[in-house]
Assembly symmetry: C2
Homo-oligomer: 346 residues x 2
């Protein structure tokens, strides 16, 4: 197998404000692997707050140890994944995992969802994300403009739960769409206990990462203190790779699986199996990514309860196309592998 | 999809003695499902000591609710499996699951191991089983006759652990093959603590079901009292379906997954994922079954540490062929699905 790596500077349609900071460009890395007449592509989302850098990802993806690991038969997908160097970061590993799956699917002549026996009609409606804004009228306008989406995710974590709640109430006034919220770990357990009953009243579909990443005591408090009739509390930053799932059994109601966090499709699939065995809900999420990584997650999302796969919609220079989204519903094609093709030159 | 069900009376080459009793014939049930030009076949192993009867299995496999569940597209494997009636016994469910996988693989044009990205060269050497015999010279002779097998499983559970140990020592004197043992739950925890150090000395590869099925306290005692340097202690009767794996974390060193216990390939795959997340070894076993069910397990065995897939070798009237075993090493073909074909008329 031959490999090729290139930087991908993704231009964001709108500056993206999080509790972590604001960004206007995101530098990801594309990874291509070829064997015979087929090639597969993968993407590493370089997420600064997970400690990834483009340089480190590029270094991993051009390492001789990786080339050595990819010297075998592309049909033996499991063997190739087993041989990946142990020191790869999750994002770099995800890029290789996605590219190998794409290549494998092309060799077998079927799209990935088909090779997993899945029905793409089961992909849940994907949420559309709205960031907080200082300008309240502008915020209301943003919510109204999202009228084509049936599920809207509100980013919270302003630092004051009462402000957070006020923004949710504003959104509720402006749209009939279903709403979910992502606190990005911005609440203490006590603050979460104060706001969650109000969010339950507002029929929020799910609540992501109410407490800080490492606040397991906070998760325990929420689990023990809140009524069972509540929106599912979904761990995002608290859950990373396969090994992080079982310790959360009985602590969280669900997990947000992202390929760039866990290292690709194979570990994501294992996490889904573990989550199901622990009666957890599954949300398939993404980073700010092109169609490459979002398509990979979309194939898997047929197994999920919720999807948050709008990463490519936030980007103005997506180098690939091949998934369509209408009112949040993703459609996949019958093309083999990821089912994506390069976008026409712009 | 059209379905067809028939009884399969398997003639055993040798009467088979277990701690449960002796058998010379085993009545299984074959299940066929057809769509378009393809058909898939599955098998229900009717295991009396698991409370299955041929009548009950036949009833489940010809139920209108099952026909209704199988009315969809055979490519949508997951949907069909999700729709199976909840009240099916594990063996009946396994027959349908195997047949649907076979049909799905034929529609996609690839063998199952390929559709899972697995390398059939990783299928572990399968053990060959030798039952206890009252005649000690005859027992030694049986062990010598198994010289073509590199891994021999000794069935124990005579009711006296000293007798069990003597049989293992006899076998050790007669062969250079690797040996594993299956106590079939025949020891108390104290008896197991007495015999296991001696079995460790004899370099037994693994020890199956040392204590009784429901003796979780016994498993706990063994786990806490035995040195880590011991043959892995593998649960067989103690583990049944998907839900039984996680409660055994930290209690057992591995699990014996059998399709007829857990309900087929999809739950077996999930059990493997769970076992790996709990650092358990995986043994893929079988019942007394034809090539149909053994081939299905063999495809999955590429993910296992150990295999015990000699069920079809014990049968003189196997209605299918398509897996070859040489010195315990199973070879699969490139044919799609299970890769098996009807045996020529006898």
């Amino acid at each position: 197998m031959h490999t090729q790596t290139r930087r991908l500077a993704l231009q964001l349609r709108h500056p993206f404000k999080l509790s972590y900071g604001t960004t206007t460009v995101r530098e990801n890395v594309l990874f291509q692997v070829s064997a015979g007449t087929h090639s597969g592509v993968g993407e590493a989302a370089v997420v600064p707050y997970y400690g990834e850098t483009a340089e480190r990802v590029l270094q991993h993806l051009s390492a001789p140890a990786l080339a050595e690991a990819l010297s075998g038969d592309p049909l033996l997908l499991g063997d190739a994944l087993d041989r990946l160097p142990a020191d790869m970061t999750p994002a770099a590993r995800a890029a290789v995992d996605i590219a190998l799956h794409d290549l494998w699917g092309k060799h077998l002549g079927h799209p990935l969802y088909r090779l997993w026996g899945l029905n793409p009609a089961h992909i849940p409606v994907s949420s559309f994300t709205i960031a907080m804004a200082d300008d309240e009228d502008g915020y209301r306008e943003q919510v109204r403009e999202a009228r084509d989406h049936s599920l809207i995710k509100l980013k919270l974590g302003s630092g004051d739960w009462r402000t957070d709640l006020r923004y949710v109430q504003m959104a509720r006034q402006e749209t009939r769409a279903r709403l979910c919220v992502d606190a990005n770990g911005g609440w203490s357990a006590d603050e979460a206990l104060a706001i969650i009953p109000a969010l339950t009243e507002l029929e929020i579909v799910f609540i992501e990462q109410p407490v800080a990443r490492d606040d397991l005591a906070g998760w325990r408090t929420l689990h023990d203190s809140l009524p069972v009739a509540r929106p599912p509390l979904i761990a995002d930053e608290t859950v990373q790779g396969v090994e992080s799932v079982l310790p959360l059994a009985g602590l969280v109601d669900g997990i947000n699986i992202k390929l760039a966090k866990c290292g690709g499709l194979r570990p994501a699939m294992q996490m889904i199996q573990l989550a199901r065995a622990c009666s957890m809900k599954v949300l398939i999420g993404c980073m700010i990514e092109s169609t490459v990584a979002v398509a990979a997650a979309a194939h898997l999302a047929a197994l999920a309860d919720f999807a948050d796969l709008d990463g490519n919609l936030l980007v103005s220079n997506d180098p690939y196309r091949g998934i369509e989204m209408r009112k949040g519903q993703i459609a996949l094609t019958e093309r083999p592998g990821l089912g994506i093709v390069p976008a026409p030159e712009q």
